[in-house]
Amino acid sequence: MDQNIDSLIQWDFIVGHANYWMFIVLMMTGLFIVVARGNLVKKIVGLNIFQVSVFMLYISVGKVSGGTAPIYQVDSQGNLLFDPTIVYSNPLPHVLILTAIVVGIATTSLGLALVVRINEEFNTIEEDELLAIEQEMSAADNKEHGSAMGGRA
């Protein structure tokens, strides 16, 4: 019976994939903040969490078990010691994510700048209030110009 359960639940598989599922949990937390919370600053924090969990997924794909950080040792003369028995983790995802983090902060700051401008224009950063203001504005526009423009905007 025990053997049956063991073969039914593949522990190797679960342990080998648990890391990816962790990142999916984090990613979904970020997505939840973006979808369910109306405050624009909080939405950007949620987007950051989402983005960071994607980074972690990439980095964990590059991990080799038993490996170490991809930096070679140097001897006292400054020559590189390349020892083929040392296992290094895959450096390629590191490069991609390193640049992605800096691009991420640049785009985040662009989003924050948009939030500041929205606040200056409408005096609120709550999504539902903004939608209400927008509807009011378009209703007013329709009332004034609707017939001349040939129907509702």
Partner: protein
């Protein structure tokens, strides 16, 4: 923040150290973790810290906005020029072997140095520029209301 004496003294001590550390990260990036992106961010943190503690106007005296804006473009320009330079020497775009044909790995060292410098300068400029842009907006309420 005129009354925060400890903050101001500690900031004065830290700013120089942070800039030194940024330069270390920039130029030691070939041998240890680090490089242009990280160095640029750390360098900009020094100016941002100065700006937060001593006020934006003081920071703008140290690193004037027109210079920040030029810095943003200068880094990309250095990067692109490195590529064009290797192109003019008859090699591929961004093929650093061009800078030392007899000893290609030395050329690679020069190329990586120039390119990382460009990245660091641009990132410094952009981060400080973004901070200036945010900090120079008039806040809707005073410091005392926090």
């Amino acid at each position: 923040m005129h009354h925060h004496l400890i903050l101001r003294v500690v900031t004065k001590m830290l700013v120089g150290t942070i800039i030194l550390f940024a330069l270390y990260v920039q130029f030691h990036g070939d041998f240890s973790p680090g490089g242009g992106f990280q160095a640029g961010v750390i360098m900009s943190v020094a100016f941002i810290l100065y700006g937060i503690v001593f006020g934006l106007s003081q920071a703008e005296v140290v690193f004037p906005p027109w210079l920040v804006h030029k810095t943003m473009a200068l880094g990309v320009l250095i990067y692109g020029t490195t590529g064009v330079f290797s192109l003019l020497l008859g090699y591929d775009f961004l093929d650093y072997g061009a800078f030392s044909p007899d000893h290609p790995s030395h050329g690679q060292h020069w190329g990586i140095f120039a390119v990382e410098l460009g990245v660091g300068i641009t990132v410094t400029g952009v981060m400080v520029g973004i901070y200036y842009a945010f900090a120079s907006r008039p806040p809707p309420m005073d410091d005392e209301d926090w």
